[in-house]
């Protein structure tokens, strides 16, 4: 009896593994988010950068106004330090 219950659970998990959508939920979620925000982001091109303040790795506050006057590359990335 226990063997059949275990088999039912395992086969159910196997079917779920096969049945799951072909692309992961999180990835599709990210795509949806990006698509939802692209029109809004496009309207920001050419606009002035809002006044922002960040804290760098040494704890010093960096304001967007401090970055004026020289070329600047902003890179946004998600941390992968697990």
């Amino acid at each position: 009896m226990l063997r059949w219950i275990a088999t039912l659970v395992l086969v159910g998990l196997f079917a779920l593994n096969l049945w799951m959508p072909s692309s992961p939920l999180g990835r599709r979620g990210n795509e949806r988010t990006v698509r939802a925000h692209v029109p809004a982001a496009a309207s920001w091109v050419g606009q002035r950068l809002p006044d922002l303040a960040f804290e760098d790795l040494d704890g010093r506050v960096v304001r967007s106004a401090d970055l004026l006057g020289h070329p600047l590359l902003l890179v946004f990335e998600r941390s992968v330090d697990w």
Binding site: M20, L25, G26
Partner: protein
């Protein structure tokens, strides 16, 4: 036939786990070398838990190898091995589904989950029968 199949599955799984366990264990020591470039994207905490998992895998794999040699031992460890394999599959499926690991591992998590579930089924159905003893 069933006993031979169990020995094969238990022995192969045991070897796989011992190998993977040793790799995770020694990855911790390799990571401590100055300027080391870890093969897996893990920080100090990740390597710490990987070494823990590695030691557990070596123990689990050793038990499976013992089960391949002695069927009575194999009968004892098969149910919990099947349960743990189902756990390995379950968290892989969730990890794949949520997408957090997709960029790093792609569909590998899903294939591994299928393999572990098949192995779990094998441990359920190939579990050796109890020994009959004549008093």
């Amino acid at each position: 036939m069933r006993a031979a199949a169990f020995r094969l599955v238990s022995g192969a799984t045991g070897l796989l786990f011992v190998g993977a366990g040793l790799a995770l264990f020694f990855a911790f020591f390799a990571y401590q070398q100055p300027g080391s470039q870890p093969a897996l994207p893990m920080g100090p905490l990740g390597h710490y838990f990987a070494a823990f998992a590695g030691c557990a895998l070596v123990g689990w794999g050793g038990a499976l190898l013992a089960g391949a040699r002695d069927l009575a031992t194999g009968r004892g460890i098969a149910p919990m091995t099947a349960l743990a394999l189902a756990g390995l599959a379950l968290y892989r499926m969730l990890g794949w589904f949520m997408g957090d690991y997709y960029a790093w591992a792609g569909d590998l998590l899903r294939y591994e989950a299928a393999l572990f579930l098949l192995l779990a089924l094998a441990f359920v159905w190939l579990r050796p029968a109890p020994e009959r003893r004549i008093a």
